[in-house]
Amino acid sequence: MDKSAKSLFEKMYTTQVDKIYRFVFFRVGNNKEAAEDLTSEVFLRALEYFDSYDSTKSQSAWLMTIAKNCLVDYYKKQKHNVSLEAAMADDEDSNKVDRLLFAVAKENFAKAGFNLEIMEKLATLSENDREIVTFHYLYGYSYLEIAQMREMSETAVKVAAHRALKKIVK
């Protein structure tokens, strides 16, 4: 691995660490320590497999996949979410896992005393719209990053976000 690979990894870390942390934080019972442990785990795994990372592809999407795998492992260890375990055992339906991860996040959001009104409004959205809004407004991903993760055009993501916000206002 040359110096350019190292600087690429460093850049990826600085731009992604906050987003990954937030994504994880809402899914581990707003537990800061657990979120920090998981974030560390995500980046350590990313480092381990960095030689197989295709730099032409989206960093956000790659890290998000690792983060989801780490969360799945975390839940397996915790054994507190029966439905999630069932979903994981059921099949490899990633959308199902995502839905359950959001459900956990919502539950934890309420527990932490954050304003639940926005979460309830988000829950009324379709899965795709909700993800775009939360990723952009809550975790801090740009429209471009979300577009890369979802393999859509940036304009399509912006349009979807705009429509989702209109629905929330209604």
Binding site: M1, A5, K6, F9, E10, Y13, T14, V17, D18, Y21, R22, F25, F26, N30, K32, A35, E36, T39, S40, F43, L44, L47, E48, D51, F114, N115, E117, I118, K121, V133, Y137, L138, Y139, G140, L165, I168, V169
Partner: protein, 211 residues
Amino acid sequence: MNLKQRYNLWKVKRSTSPRGVFKRGLQKKLETVWNDRYVTKSYWFQARIFKFTAVSMIAVLLAGSFGTGAYAYYSPEVTEGSVLYPVKSSIEKLEEKTKRNPEAQAKFYLKQIQRREAEKKKLKEKNKIVENLDIQIEKIGDKLEQVNTKLQNQELKDKQLKPQIEQRLQERKKILEEKQTRFESKKQEMEQRTQERAQRELQNRERNRVN
């Protein structure tokens, strides 16, 4: 989404940011792991400047030692007692071991005798003792004689070698004869002196008895 809701989300986002200490700590940890995993350790002796220096030094040393060895081997100035003489004799011993057939050995002994003679000449110019060299030349001559007996019934590749050996052995014979003559004359001289001394002693005794 109204402004209030946006503000609420922004507040949540801000309050759920990771701690700076954690981020810096993780960054350091990742750097350590990266170095362990991907960076091959470079030792001081792998540095380019060291390699260049080492190669240059070795080249200079080799050239120096070859040069010194060659000078010691070929120069008649390097005589017994000089610093390079052990180098010269070591190279000669080594060369002697490489000569396997009698013809090559004979050539080598001829060359060795020539070298010793050149050294002898140089030492004489400096008014130094040459006895050791005479002994060495004699010993080499012995070896040459032994090799010559093996060559008697052989057809040699170098046709001029036999006459050279013959000439050298003749010279050796001459020297030995001269030595022998010198020895005989010295012996006679000694015997004569002894006789004279004995006669003188006898005469002294008789004189003492008469008195």
